[in-house]
Symmetry: C2
Subunit: 321 residues, 2 copies
Protein backbone atom coordinates (compact mmCIF):
# COMPACT_ATOMS: atom_id res chain seq x y z
CA UNK A 1 0.00 0.00 0.00
CA UNK A 2 2.55 2.53 1.18
CA UNK A 3 4.92 1.64 -1.63
CA UNK A 4 2.33 2.23 -4.35
CA UNK A 5 1.36 5.45 -2.66
CA UNK A 6 4.99 6.55 -2.75
CA UNK A 7 5.51 5.63 -6.35
CA UNK A 8 2.73 8.02 -7.34
CA UNK A 9 4.06 10.69 -5.04
CA UNK A 10 7.57 10.36 -6.40
CA UNK A 11 6.26 11.60 -9.67
CA UNK A 12 4.16 14.30 -8.06
CA UNK A 13 6.83 15.66 -5.75
CA UNK A 14 9.70 15.59 -8.18
CA UNK A 15 10.76 19.18 -8.71
CA UNK A 16 7.86 20.30 -6.57
CA UNK A 17 8.37 23.59 -4.77
CA UNK A 18 5.34 23.48 -2.53
CA UNK A 19 3.45 20.80 -0.67
CA UNK A 20 0.15 20.83 1.19
CA UNK A 21 -0.33 18.12 3.80
CA UNK A 22 -2.79 16.79 6.33
CA UNK A 23 -1.24 16.31 9.79
CA UNK A 24 -3.33 13.89 11.83
CA UNK A 25 -4.23 13.94 15.49
CA UNK A 26 -3.17 10.90 17.50
CA UNK A 27 -4.13 9.06 20.67
CA UNK A 28 -1.12 8.13 22.79
CA UNK A 29 -0.82 5.68 25.69
CA UNK A 30 -4.07 3.83 24.95
CA UNK A 31 -4.67 2.91 28.59
CA UNK A 32 -2.11 0.16 29.17
CA UNK A 33 0.67 1.49 26.94
CA UNK A 34 1.93 4.58 28.77
CA UNK A 35 4.75 6.21 26.77
CA UNK A 36 4.91 3.36 24.22
CA UNK A 37 1.59 2.98 22.34
CA UNK A 38 -0.31 5.32 20.05
CA UNK A 39 -2.74 5.35 17.14
CA UNK A 40 -3.38 7.73 14.27
CA UNK A 41 -6.74 9.41 13.63
CA UNK A 42 -8.11 9.82 10.13
CA UNK A 43 -10.31 12.89 9.98
CA UNK A 44 -9.00 15.06 12.80
CA UNK A 45 -5.90 17.10 12.13
CA UNK A 46 -4.12 20.23 10.96
CA UNK A 47 -3.03 21.30 7.52
CA UNK A 48 0.35 22.67 6.56
CA UNK A 49 1.75 24.27 3.43
CA UNK A 50 5.52 24.09 3.05
CA UNK A 51 7.41 25.98 0.32
CA UNK A 52 11.01 25.84 -0.78
CA UNK A 53 12.75 29.15 -0.21
CA UNK A 54 16.00 30.65 -1.47
CA UNK A 55 16.74 31.69 2.08
CA UNK A 56 18.51 29.04 4.18
CA UNK A 57 16.73 27.73 7.27
CA UNK A 58 13.14 27.53 8.45
CA UNK A 59 10.55 30.26 8.80
CA UNK A 60 7.02 29.93 10.16
CA UNK A 61 5.34 32.40 7.84
CA UNK A 62 1.74 31.86 8.87
CA UNK A 63 0.00 30.29 11.84
CA UNK A 64 -3.78 30.18 11.76
CA UNK A 65 -6.09 28.82 14.44
CA UNK A 66 -3.79 28.95 17.45
CA UNK A 67 -1.86 31.44 19.54
CA UNK A 68 1.57 29.80 19.20
CA UNK A 69 5.05 31.28 18.66
CA UNK A 70 6.12 32.12 15.10
CA UNK A 71 9.79 32.21 16.04
CA UNK A 72 11.40 29.12 14.51
CA UNK A 73 13.29 28.01 17.63
CA UNK A 74 10.16 28.35 19.77
CA UNK A 75 7.81 26.57 17.36
CA UNK A 76 7.65 22.77 17.43
CA UNK A 77 7.45 22.53 13.63
CA UNK A 78 10.43 24.87 13.36
CA UNK A 79 12.53 22.92 15.84
CA UNK A 80 11.73 19.55 14.24
CA UNK A 81 12.52 20.91 10.76
CA UNK A 82 15.80 22.45 11.94
CA UNK A 83 16.87 19.14 13.53
CA UNK A 84 16.27 17.43 10.20
CA UNK A 85 18.17 20.02 8.14
CA UNK A 86 21.04 19.87 10.60
CA UNK A 87 21.26 16.07 10.26
CA UNK A 88 21.41 16.54 6.49
CA UNK A 89 23.92 19.35 6.84
CA UNK A 90 21.63 21.07 4.36
CA UNK A 91 21.65 24.64 3.10
CA UNK A 92 18.03 24.35 1.98
CA UNK A 93 15.38 26.77 3.19
CA UNK A 94 11.63 26.42 3.75
CA UNK A 95 8.66 28.58 4.62
CA UNK A 96 5.96 26.85 6.65
CA UNK A 97 2.29 27.78 6.98
CA UNK A 98 0.39 26.02 9.75
CA UNK A 99 -3.40 25.82 9.87
CA UNK A 100 -4.22 24.42 13.31
CA UNK A 101 -7.41 22.52 14.00
CA UNK A 102 -6.06 20.49 16.90
CA UNK A 103 -6.07 22.59 20.04
CA UNK A 104 -2.87 22.81 22.05
CA UNK A 105 -3.22 20.96 25.34
CA UNK A 106 -6.07 18.79 24.10
CA UNK A 107 -4.23 15.50 24.54
CA UNK A 108 -4.59 14.35 20.93
CA UNK A 109 -1.12 15.23 19.73
CA UNK A 110 -1.36 18.87 18.65
CA UNK A 111 2.39 19.48 18.83
CA UNK A 112 3.10 16.06 17.31
CA UNK A 113 0.95 16.86 14.27
CA UNK A 114 2.98 20.01 13.59
CA UNK A 115 6.34 18.35 14.25
CA UNK A 116 5.50 15.31 12.15
CA UNK A 117 4.00 17.42 9.36
CA UNK A 118 7.05 19.67 9.11
CA UNK A 119 9.57 16.85 8.74
CA UNK A 120 7.31 14.81 6.47
CA UNK A 121 6.70 17.74 4.13
CA UNK A 122 10.34 18.84 3.93
CA UNK A 123 11.42 15.24 3.36
CA UNK A 124 9.05 15.11 0.38
CA UNK A 125 10.29 18.42 -1.04
CA UNK A 126 13.91 17.26 -0.71
CA UNK A 127 13.19 14.10 -2.70
CA UNK A 128 12.89 11.86 0.32
CA UNK A 129 16.41 11.56 1.75
CA UNK A 130 14.91 9.71 4.76
CA UNK A 131 12.60 6.74 5.21
CA UNK A 132 9.46 7.84 7.04
CA UNK A 133 10.44 5.88 10.16
CA UNK A 134 13.76 7.75 10.29
CA UNK A 135 11.91 11.06 10.57
CA UNK A 136 10.63 10.15 14.03
CA UNK A 137 13.74 11.34 15.96
CA UNK A 138 13.51 14.81 14.31
CA UNK A 139 9.82 15.12 15.11
CA UNK A 140 10.62 14.10 18.68
CA UNK A 141 12.67 17.29 19.02
CA UNK A 142 9.42 19.21 18.57
CA UNK A 143 7.88 17.17 21.38
CA UNK A 144 10.85 17.97 23.57
CA UNK A 145 10.20 21.67 23.04
CA UNK A 146 6.48 21.25 23.71
CA UNK A 147 6.63 19.31 26.95
CA UNK A 148 10.24 18.92 27.98
CA UNK A 149 10.30 15.24 27.08
CA UNK A 150 11.19 13.86 23.63
CA UNK A 151 8.46 11.25 23.62
CA UNK A 152 7.59 9.36 20.43
CA UNK A 153 4.16 7.96 21.18
CA UNK A 154 2.35 10.72 19.24
CA UNK A 155 4.85 11.53 16.47
CA UNK A 156 5.35 7.86 15.57
CA UNK A 157 1.66 7.17 14.78
CA UNK A 158 1.32 10.62 13.16
CA UNK A 159 4.12 9.74 10.73
CA UNK A 160 3.54 6.01 10.24
CA UNK A 161 -0.22 5.64 10.69
CA UNK A 162 -2.02 2.71 12.29
CA UNK A 163 -0.90 1.70 15.75
CA UNK A 164 2.71 2.15 16.77
CA UNK A 165 4.71 0.61 19.58
CA UNK A 166 7.83 2.34 20.85
CA UNK A 167 9.60 -0.88 21.89
CA UNK A 168 12.64 1.06 23.03
CA UNK A 169 13.78 4.67 23.25
CA UNK A 170 17.48 3.89 23.44
CA UNK A 171 18.09 2.83 20.77
CA UNK A 172 14.84 4.07 19.22
CA UNK A 173 12.89 1.06 17.92
CA UNK A 174 9.40 1.63 16.58
CA UNK A 175 7.05 -1.11 15.43
CA UNK A 176 4.06 -0.30 13.23
CA UNK A 177 0.99 -2.47 13.70
CA UNK A 178 -1.89 -2.43 11.23
CA UNK A 179 -5.26 -1.60 12.74
CA UNK A 180 -8.15 -4.06 12.42
CA UNK A 181 -10.37 -2.49 9.75
CA UNK A 182 -13.50 -2.06 11.88
CA UNK A 183 -11.78 -0.29 14.73
CA UNK A 184 -13.09 3.23 15.37
CA UNK A 185 -12.17 5.87 17.91
CA UNK A 186 -14.43 8.36 19.64
CA UNK A 187 -12.59 11.25 21.28
CA UNK A 188 -14.16 13.91 23.42
CA UNK A 189 -12.21 17.00 24.39
CA UNK A 190 -13.62 18.88 27.37
CA UNK A 191 -12.58 22.50 26.90
CA UNK A 192 -10.15 22.79 29.76
CA UNK A 193 -6.44 23.03 29.08
CA UNK A 194 -4.19 20.46 30.73
CA UNK A 195 -0.50 20.85 29.97
CA UNK A 196 1.43 17.65 29.31
CA UNK A 197 4.10 18.87 31.70
CA UNK A 198 1.51 19.30 34.47
CA UNK A 199 -0.09 15.94 33.71
CA UNK A 200 3.38 14.35 33.95
CA UNK A 201 4.25 16.04 37.22
CA UNK A 202 1.43 14.26 39.11
CA UNK A 203 2.83 10.82 38.24
CA UNK A 204 4.71 8.76 40.77
CA UNK A 205 8.22 7.74 39.77
CA UNK A 206 7.85 4.24 41.24
CA UNK A 207 5.07 1.73 40.78
CA UNK A 208 4.28 -1.53 42.51
CA UNK A 209 5.67 -4.64 40.82
CA UNK A 210 2.16 -6.10 40.96
CA UNK A 211 0.65 -3.19 39.00
CA UNK A 212 3.52 -3.24 36.53
CA UNK A 213 2.93 -6.96 35.85
CA UNK A 214 -0.76 -6.28 35.20
CA UNK A 215 0.21 -3.47 32.87
CA UNK A 216 2.62 -5.51 30.75
CA UNK A 217 0.13 -8.35 30.62
CA UNK A 218 -2.35 -5.90 29.10
CA UNK A 219 0.20 -4.45 26.67
CA UNK A 220 0.87 -8.00 25.47
CA UNK A 221 -2.87 -8.64 25.21
CA UNK A 222 -3.51 -5.46 23.22
CA UNK A 223 -0.74 -6.26 20.73
CA UNK A 224 -2.03 -9.84 20.40
CA UNK A 225 -5.57 -8.52 19.91
CA UNK A 226 -4.44 -6.17 17.14
CA UNK A 227 -2.60 -8.92 15.23
CA UNK A 228 -5.45 -11.41 15.58
CA UNK A 229 -8.19 -8.80 15.04
CA UNK A 230 -9.74 -10.00 18.28
CA UNK A 231 -11.86 -7.00 19.27
CA UNK A 232 -12.87 -8.49 22.61
CA UNK A 233 -9.25 -9.06 23.55
CA UNK A 234 -8.43 -5.49 22.52
CA UNK A 235 -11.19 -4.34 24.82
CA UNK A 236 -10.14 -6.51 27.76
CA UNK A 237 -6.58 -5.20 27.43
CA UNK A 238 -7.55 -1.50 27.43
CA UNK A 239 -7.00 -1.18 31.13
CA UNK A 240 -4.59 1.14 32.94
CA UNK A 241 -3.45 0.18 36.43
CA UNK A 242 -0.90 2.92 36.81
CA UNK A 243 -1.54 6.30 35.22
CA UNK A 244 -5.31 6.62 34.84
CA UNK A 245 -6.11 6.35 38.56
CA UNK A 246 -3.83 9.35 39.18
CA UNK A 247 -4.47 11.52 36.13
CA UNK A 248 -8.19 10.99 35.75
CA UNK A 249 -8.94 13.20 38.76
CA UNK A 250 -7.66 16.16 36.70
CA UNK A 251 -10.39 15.58 34.09
CA UNK A 252 -13.94 16.73 34.88
CA UNK A 253 -16.49 13.93 34.54
CA UNK A 254 -13.90 11.30 33.59
CA UNK A 255 -15.48 8.37 35.44
CA UNK A 256 -18.96 9.13 34.12
CA UNK A 257 -17.74 9.61 30.53
CA UNK A 258 -15.84 6.31 30.69
CA UNK A 259 -18.79 4.43 32.18
CA UNK A 260 -21.03 5.97 29.54
CA UNK A 261 -18.71 4.84 26.73
CA UNK A 262 -18.54 1.29 28.09
CA UNK A 263 -22.30 1.26 28.64
CA UNK A 264 -22.80 2.20 25.01
CA UNK A 265 -20.71 -0.61 23.58
CA UNK A 266 -17.12 0.71 23.71
CA UNK A 267 -14.41 -1.96 23.76
CA UNK A 268 -12.51 0.24 26.16
CA UNK A 269 -12.05 3.86 27.19
CA UNK A 270 -9.36 5.93 28.83
CA UNK A 271 -7.36 9.15 28.83
CA UNK A 272 -6.03 10.24 25.44
CA UNK A 273 -2.34 11.05 25.88
CA UNK A 274 -1.97 13.19 28.97
CA UNK A 275 -5.60 14.37 28.73
CA UNK A 276 -7.95 16.06 29.10
CA UNK A 277 -9.38 14.32 26.02
CA UNK A 278 -11.00 10.95 26.68
CA UNK A 279 -11.04 8.24 24.03
CA UNK A 280 -13.12 5.16 23.45
CA UNK A 281 -12.45 2.41 20.91
CA UNK A 282 -15.28 0.54 19.24
CA UNK A 283 -15.95 -2.11 16.66
CA UNK A 284 -17.77 -0.34 13.86
CA UNK A 285 -18.65 3.26 13.11
CA UNK A 286 -22.25 2.99 14.32
CA UNK A 287 -21.14 2.14 17.85
CA UNK A 288 -18.50 4.90 17.79
CA UNK A 289 -21.19 7.43 16.80
CA UNK A 290 -23.58 6.16 19.46
CA UNK A 291 -20.82 6.62 22.03
CA UNK A 292 -20.19 10.17 20.77
CA UNK A 293 -23.88 10.95 21.25
CA UNK A 294 -23.90 9.52 24.77
CA UNK A 295 -20.67 11.29 25.76
CA UNK A 296 -22.06 14.55 24.41
CA UNK A 297 -25.16 14.17 26.55
CA UNK A 298 -22.97 13.84 29.65
CA UNK A 299 -21.04 17.06 29.01
CA UNK A 300 -24.23 18.86 27.86
CA UNK A 301 -25.77 17.94 31.19
CA UNK A 302 -22.65 19.20 33.00
CA UNK A 303 -22.78 22.39 30.88
CA UNK A 304 -19.13 21.84 30.02
CA UNK A 305 -18.08 22.90 26.48
CA UNK A 306 -16.44 20.11 24.46
CA UNK A 307 -15.39 19.01 21.01
CA UNK A 308 -16.08 15.48 19.89
CA UNK A 309 -14.67 13.37 17.05
CA UNK A 310 -15.43 9.99 15.55
CA UNK A 311 -12.69 8.56 13.34
CA UNK A 312 -11.48 5.29 11.97
CA UNK A 313 -7.80 4.56 12.50
CA UNK A 314 -5.73 6.26 9.78
CA UNK A 315 -3.59 3.56 8.19
CA UNK A 316 -0.98 5.85 6.58
CA UNK A 317 -0.24 8.85 8.82
CA UNK A 318 0.54 12.32 7.41
CA UNK A 319 -0.71 12.59 3.82
CA UNK A 320 -0.32 14.92 0.88
CA UNK A 321 -3.45 16.84 -0.03
CA UNK B 1 -4.15 -29.44 14.05
CA UNK B 2 -5.36 -29.70 17.63
CA UNK B 3 -8.89 -30.54 16.51
CA UNK B 4 -7.77 -33.40 14.25
CA UNK B 5 -5.54 -34.67 17.01
CA UNK B 6 -8.48 -34.66 19.40
CA UNK B 7 -10.80 -36.45 17.02
CA UNK B 8 -8.37 -39.36 16.93
CA UNK B 9 -7.95 -39.24 20.68
CA UNK B 10 -11.67 -39.17 21.27
CA UNK B 11 -11.82 -42.59 19.76
CA UNK B 12 -8.75 -43.77 21.63
CA UNK B 13 -9.72 -42.44 25.03
CA UNK B 14 -13.36 -43.50 24.96
CA UNK B 15 -13.76 -46.12 27.65
CA UNK B 16 -10.04 -45.96 28.24
CA UNK B 17 -9.01 -46.83 31.76
CA UNK B 18 -5.38 -45.81 31.56
CA UNK B 19 -3.42 -43.07 29.87
CA UNK B 20 0.28 -42.45 29.44
CA UNK B 21 1.35 -38.89 28.77
CA UNK B 22 4.38 -36.71 28.16
CA UNK B 23 4.47 -33.65 30.45
CA UNK B 24 6.72 -30.98 28.95
CA UNK B 25 9.17 -28.65 30.64
CA UNK B 26 8.54 -24.94 30.11
CA UNK B 27 10.43 -21.65 30.19
CA UNK B 28 8.58 -18.93 32.07
CA UNK B 29 9.14 -15.16 32.14
CA UNK B 30 11.27 -15.07 28.97
CA UNK B 31 13.24 -12.02 30.10
CA UNK B 32 10.72 -9.20 29.66
CA UNK B 33 7.55 -11.11 30.58
CA UNK B 34 7.90 -11.71 34.31
CA UNK B 35 4.88 -13.68 35.60
CA UNK B 36 3.03 -13.44 32.26
CA UNK B 37 4.99 -15.15 29.45
CA UNK B 38 6.07 -18.75 28.94
CA UNK B 39 6.90 -21.29 26.24
CA UNK B 40 6.63 -25.05 26.01
CA UNK B 41 9.61 -27.33 25.31
CA UNK B 42 9.32 -30.33 23.03
CA UNK B 43 11.77 -33.00 24.09
CA UNK B 44 12.33 -32.26 27.77
CA UNK B 45 9.73 -33.48 30.22
CA UNK B 46 8.28 -36.09 32.54
CA UNK B 47 6.00 -39.01 31.86
CA UNK B 48 2.90 -39.94 33.79
CA UNK B 49 0.59 -42.92 33.80
CA UNK B 50 -2.90 -42.32 35.16
CA UNK B 51 -5.40 -45.12 35.82
CA UNK B 52 -9.06 -45.06 36.71
CA UNK B 53 -9.67 -46.59 40.13
CA UNK B 54 -12.77 -47.81 41.92
CA UNK B 55 -11.60 -45.91 44.96
CA UNK B 56 -12.72 -42.29 45.08
CA UNK B 57 -10.04 -39.59 45.07
CA UNK B 58 -6.43 -39.34 43.99
CA UNK B 59 -3.47 -41.50 44.94
CA UNK B 60 0.15 -41.05 43.87
CA UNK B 61 1.07 -44.72 43.55
CA UNK B 62 4.55 -44.36 42.13
CA UNK B 63 7.10 -41.57 41.91
CA UNK B 64 10.33 -42.32 40.10
CA UNK B 65 13.28 -39.98 39.61
CA UNK B 66 12.65 -37.49 42.41
CA UNK B 67 12.40 -37.36 46.17
CA UNK B 68 8.95 -35.78 46.38
CA UNK B 69 5.97 -36.46 48.69
CA UNK B 70 3.60 -39.29 47.76
CA UNK B 71 0.84 -37.95 49.99
CA UNK B 72 -1.85 -36.55 47.69
CA UNK B 73 -2.33 -33.25 49.51
CA UNK B 74 1.43 -32.63 49.54
CA UNK B 75 2.04 -33.57 45.91
CA UNK B 76 1.44 -30.93 43.21
CA UNK B 77 -0.14 -33.47 40.84
CA UNK B 78 -2.40 -34.66 43.65
CA UNK B 79 -3.48 -31.17 44.62
CA UNK B 80 -4.18 -30.12 41.01
CA UNK B 81 -6.16 -33.32 40.38
CA UNK B 82 -8.19 -32.89 43.58
CA UNK B 83 -9.05 -29.28 42.62
CA UNK B 84 -10.38 -30.55 39.31
CA UNK B 85 -12.44 -33.37 40.81
CA UNK B 86 -13.87 -30.98 43.37
CA UNK B 87 -14.96 -28.56 40.63
CA UNK B 88 -16.71 -31.47 38.91
CA UNK B 89 -18.16 -32.65 42.20
CA UNK B 90 -16.94 -36.04 41.01
CA UNK B 91 -16.82 -39.37 42.81
CA UNK B 92 -14.23 -40.68 40.37
CA UNK B 93 -10.90 -42.06 41.53
CA UNK B 94 -7.46 -42.17 39.91
CA UNK B 95 -4.03 -43.65 40.58
CA UNK B 96 -1.11 -41.60 39.29
CA UNK B 97 2.41 -42.76 38.49
CA UNK B 98 4.96 -40.00 37.94
CA UNK B 99 8.27 -40.54 36.16
CA UNK B 100 10.27 -37.35 36.73
CA UNK B 101 12.97 -36.23 34.37
CA UNK B 102 12.69 -32.52 35.17
CA UNK B 103 14.53 -31.79 38.38
CA UNK B 104 12.68 -29.91 41.10
CA UNK B 105 14.10 -26.41 41.50
CA UNK B 106 15.61 -26.36 38.00
CA UNK B 107 13.53 -23.40 36.78
CA UNK B 108 12.01 -25.20 33.81
CA UNK B 109 8.62 -25.95 35.29
CA UNK B 110 9.07 -29.24 37.14
CA UNK B 111 6.01 -28.79 39.35
CA UNK B 112 4.02 -27.34 36.42
CA UNK B 113 4.68 -30.44 34.31
CA UNK B 114 3.24 -32.68 37.05
CA UNK B 115 0.28 -30.39 37.78
CA UNK B 116 -0.54 -29.95 34.09
CA UNK B 117 -0.07 -33.64 33.34
CA UNK B 118 -2.39 -34.74 36.13
CA UNK B 119 -5.31 -32.54 35.08
CA UNK B 120 -4.78 -33.19 31.37
CA UNK B 121 -4.72 -36.95 31.85
CA UNK B 122 -7.74 -37.10 34.14
CA UNK B 123 -9.67 -34.81 31.79
CA UNK B 124 -8.99 -37.28 28.98
CA UNK B 125 -10.05 -40.30 31.06
CA UNK B 126 -13.27 -38.53 32.05
CA UNK B 127 -14.18 -37.89 28.40
CA UNK B 128 -13.00 -34.30 28.40
CA UNK B 129 -15.48 -32.37 30.58
CA UNK B 130 -13.18 -29.33 30.27
CA UNK B 131 -11.56 -27.44 27.40
CA UNK B 132 -7.77 -27.57 27.79
CA UNK B 133 -7.63 -23.83 28.61
CA UNK B 134 -10.08 -24.36 31.48
CA UNK B 135 -7.67 -26.81 33.11
CA UNK B 136 -5.17 -24.03 33.86
CA UNK B 137 -6.77 -22.89 37.15
CA UNK B 138 -6.65 -26.45 38.55
CA UNK B 139 -2.99 -26.87 37.56
CA UNK B 140 -2.29 -23.50 39.20
CA UNK B 141 -3.30 -25.05 42.53
CA UNK B 142 -0.29 -27.34 42.15
CA UNK B 143 1.93 -24.29 41.62
CA UNK B 144 0.48 -22.72 44.74
CA UNK B 145 1.54 -25.76 46.73
CA UNK B 146 5.01 -25.77 45.14
CA UNK B 147 5.94 -22.15 45.69
CA UNK B 148 3.16 -20.42 47.59
CA UNK B 149 1.97 -18.52 44.54
CA UNK B 150 -0.63 -19.80 42.06
CA UNK B 151 1.24 -18.56 39.00
CA UNK B 152 0.19 -19.66 35.51
CA UNK B 153 3.23 -18.88 33.41
CA UNK B 154 4.49 -22.49 33.44
CA UNK B 155 1.23 -24.47 33.58
CA UNK B 156 -0.34 -22.47 30.73
CA UNK B 157 2.37 -23.28 28.16
CA UNK B 158 2.63 -26.87 29.50
CA UNK B 159 -1.08 -27.39 28.79
CA UNK B 160 -1.53 -25.28 25.65
CA UNK B 161 1.87 -25.47 23.96
CA UNK B 162 3.57 -22.70 22.01
CA UNK B 163 3.93 -19.37 23.75
CA UNK B 164 1.36 -18.24 26.26
CA UNK B 165 0.56 -14.82 27.65
CA UNK B 166 -1.25 -14.50 30.96
CA UNK B 167 -2.96 -11.22 30.12
CA UNK B 168 -4.71 -11.12 33.45
CA UNK B 169 -4.88 -13.22 36.61
CA UNK B 170 -8.17 -11.83 37.83
CA UNK B 171 -10.11 -12.83 35.86
CA UNK B 172 -7.74 -15.41 34.42
CA UNK B 173 -7.22 -14.63 30.72
CA UNK B 174 -4.67 -16.66 28.80
CA UNK B 175 -3.69 -16.06 25.18
CA UNK B 176 -1.92 -18.74 23.18
CA UNK B 177 0.54 -17.54 20.55
CA UNK B 178 1.95 -19.88 17.92
CA UNK B 179 5.72 -20.07 17.83
CA UNK B 180 7.60 -19.18 14.64
CA UNK B 181 8.65 -22.57 13.24
CA UNK B 182 12.41 -22.02 13.31
CA UNK B 183 12.57 -20.89 16.92
CA UNK B 184 14.69 -23.16 19.14
CA UNK B 185 15.57 -23.00 22.80
CA UNK B 186 18.81 -23.98 24.49
CA UNK B 187 18.50 -24.45 28.25
CA UNK B 188 21.38 -25.11 30.59
CA UNK B 189 20.72 -26.16 34.17
CA UNK B 190 23.66 -25.67 36.52
CA UNK B 191 23.26 -28.27 39.25
CA UNK B 192 22.49 -26.00 42.13
CA UNK B 193 19.00 -25.88 43.59
CA UNK B 194 17.28 -22.51 43.73
CA UNK B 195 13.81 -22.57 45.24
CA UNK B 196 11.19 -20.44 43.49
CA UNK B 197 10.17 -19.06 46.88
CA UNK B 198 13.76 -17.95 47.59
CA UNK B 199 14.15 -16.49 44.09
CA UNK B 200 10.92 -14.54 44.67
CA UNK B 201 11.96 -13.25 48.06
CA UNK B 202 14.91 -11.28 46.62
CA UNK B 203 12.60 -9.25 44.37
CA UNK B 204 11.70 -5.68 45.22
CA UNK B 205 8.00 -4.97 45.51
CA UNK B 206 8.28 -1.61 43.73
CA UNK B 207 9.98 -0.77 40.48
CA UNK B 208 10.81 2.52 38.82
CA UNK B 209 8.22 3.79 36.34
CA UNK B 210 11.04 4.17 33.81
CA UNK B 211 12.06 0.50 34.07
CA UNK B 212 8.43 -0.60 33.94
CA UNK B 213 7.91 1.38 30.70
CA UNK B 214 10.97 -0.29 29.16
CA UNK B 215 9.64 -3.66 30.24
CA UNK B 216 6.17 -3.23 28.72
CA UNK B 217 7.71 -1.88 25.54
CA UNK B 218 9.68 -5.11 25.29
CA UNK B 219 6.67 -7.30 26.09
CA UNK B 220 4.83 -5.56 23.25
CA UNK B 221 7.83 -6.04 20.97
CA UNK B 222 8.14 -9.73 21.78
CA UNK B 223 4.45 -10.38 21.08
CA UNK B 224 4.70 -8.40 17.82
CA UNK B 225 7.83 -10.36 16.87
CA UNK B 226 6.07 -13.69 17.47
CA UNK B 227 3.07 -12.75 15.31
CA UNK B 228 5.21 -11.36 12.49
CA UNK B 229 7.88 -14.10 12.79
CA UNK B 230 10.44 -11.31 13.07
CA UNK B 231 13.32 -13.13 14.75
CA UNK B 232 15.40 -9.98 15.13
CA UNK B 233 12.56 -8.19 16.88
CA UNK B 234 12.09 -11.21 19.17
CA UNK B 235 15.78 -10.95 20.01
CA UNK B 236 15.74 -7.20 20.61
CA UNK B 237 12.76 -7.63 22.93
CA UNK B 238 14.34 -10.36 25.08
CA UNK B 239 15.59 -7.90 27.64
CA UNK B 240 14.77 -7.74 31.33
CA UNK B 241 15.14 -4.44 33.13
CA UNK B 242 13.64 -5.54 36.40
CA UNK B 243 14.17 -9.11 37.57
CA UNK B 244 17.33 -10.34 35.88
CA UNK B 245 19.66 -7.74 37.42
CA UNK B 246 18.55 -8.91 40.89
CA UNK B 247 18.18 -12.65 40.40
CA UNK B 248 21.14 -13.30 38.15
CA UNK B 249 23.58 -12.88 41.04
CA UNK B 250 22.12 -16.09 42.52
CA UNK B 251 23.22 -18.07 39.44
CA UNK B 252 26.90 -19.03 39.09
CA UNK B 253 28.40 -17.87 35.79
CA UNK B 254 25.22 -16.19 34.60
CA UNK B 255 26.83 -13.21 32.87
CA UNK B 256 29.40 -15.34 31.10
CA UNK B 257 26.84 -17.92 29.98
CA UNK B 258 24.58 -15.17 28.62
CA UNK B 259 27.45 -13.42 26.82
CA UNK B 260 28.52 -16.77 25.40
CA UNK B 261 25.02 -17.47 24.10
CA UNK B 262 24.77 -14.05 22.45
CA UNK B 263 28.29 -14.40 21.05
CA UNK B 264 27.27 -17.69 19.44
CA UNK B 265 24.24 -16.33 17.64
CA UNK B 266 21.44 -16.41 20.23
CA UNK B 267 18.57 -14.00 19.62
CA UNK B 268 18.43 -13.44 23.35
CA UNK B 269 19.23 -15.13 26.64
CA UNK B 270 18.04 -14.88 30.22
CA UNK B 271 16.94 -16.69 33.36
CA UNK B 272 14.48 -19.53 32.83
CA UNK B 273 11.63 -19.04 35.28
CA UNK B 274 13.11 -18.27 38.67
CA UNK B 275 16.37 -20.01 37.70
CA UNK B 276 18.95 -21.38 38.06
CA UNK B 277 18.46 -22.62 34.47
CA UNK B 278 19.50 -20.16 31.78
CA UNK B 279 17.80 -20.17 28.38
CA UNK B 280 18.75 -18.85 24.99
CA UNK B 281 16.45 -18.59 21.95
CA UNK B 282 17.80 -19.02 18.43
CA UNK B 283 16.69 -19.15 14.85
CA UNK B 284 17.37 -22.68 13.71
CA UNK B 285 18.51 -25.87 15.40
CA UNK B 286 22.15 -25.56 14.28
CA UNK B 287 22.59 -22.29 16.15
CA UNK B 288 20.83 -23.70 19.23
CA UNK B 289 23.21 -26.67 19.23
CA UNK B 290 26.25 -24.45 18.76
CA UNK B 291 25.09 -22.40 21.77
CA UNK B 292 24.69 -25.60 23.81
CA UNK B 293 28.27 -26.54 22.97
CA UNK B 294 29.59 -23.12 23.93
CA UNK B 295 27.57 -22.99 27.17
CA UNK B 296 28.84 -26.47 28.06
CA UNK B 297 32.41 -25.32 27.61
CA UNK B 298 31.81 -22.49 30.09
CA UNK B 299 30.49 -24.76 32.85
CA UNK B 300 33.10 -27.44 32.03
CA UNK B 301 35.77 -24.81 32.57
CA UNK B 302 34.12 -23.79 35.86
CA UNK B 303 33.90 -27.51 36.82
CA UNK B 304 30.22 -26.98 37.60
CA UNK B 305 27.96 -29.96 36.82
CA UNK B 306 25.07 -29.11 34.49
CA UNK B 307 22.38 -30.54 32.25
CA UNK B 308 21.76 -29.03 28.86
CA UNK B 309 18.85 -29.27 26.43
CA UNK B 310 18.15 -28.13 22.88
CA UNK B 311 14.50 -28.14 21.88
CA UNK B 312 12.16 -26.60 19.39
CA UNK B 313 9.06 -25.00 20.83
CA UNK B 314 6.38 -27.63 21.41
CA UNK B 315 3.24 -26.46 19.62
CA UNK B 316 0.72 -28.63 21.48
CA UNK B 317 1.69 -28.99 25.16
CA UNK B 318 1.04 -32.20 27.14
CA UNK B 319 0.58 -35.14 24.76
CA UNK B 320 -0.62 -38.69 24.92
CA UNK B 321 2.09 -41.31 24.35
Amino acid sequence: MRLCHFMTLDFKTHNMNEIKIFCPATIANLSCGFDVLGLCLDNVGDEMVIRKSDKKGIRITKLVGADLPLETEKNVAGVAALAMLEALNSDAGFDIEIYKNIKAGSGIGSSAASSAGAVFGINELLGRPFEIKDLVPFAMQGEKLACGNAHADNVAPALLGGFTLVRSYSPLDIIKIESPSELYATVVHPQIELKTSDARSVLKQTVSLKSAIMQWGNVGGLIAGLYTKDYDLIGRSLHDEIVEPIRSVLIPGFDLIKRTALGNGALGSGISGSGPSIFALSKGEATAKQIAKAMSAVYDEMKLPYEIHVSKVNPDGVRIL
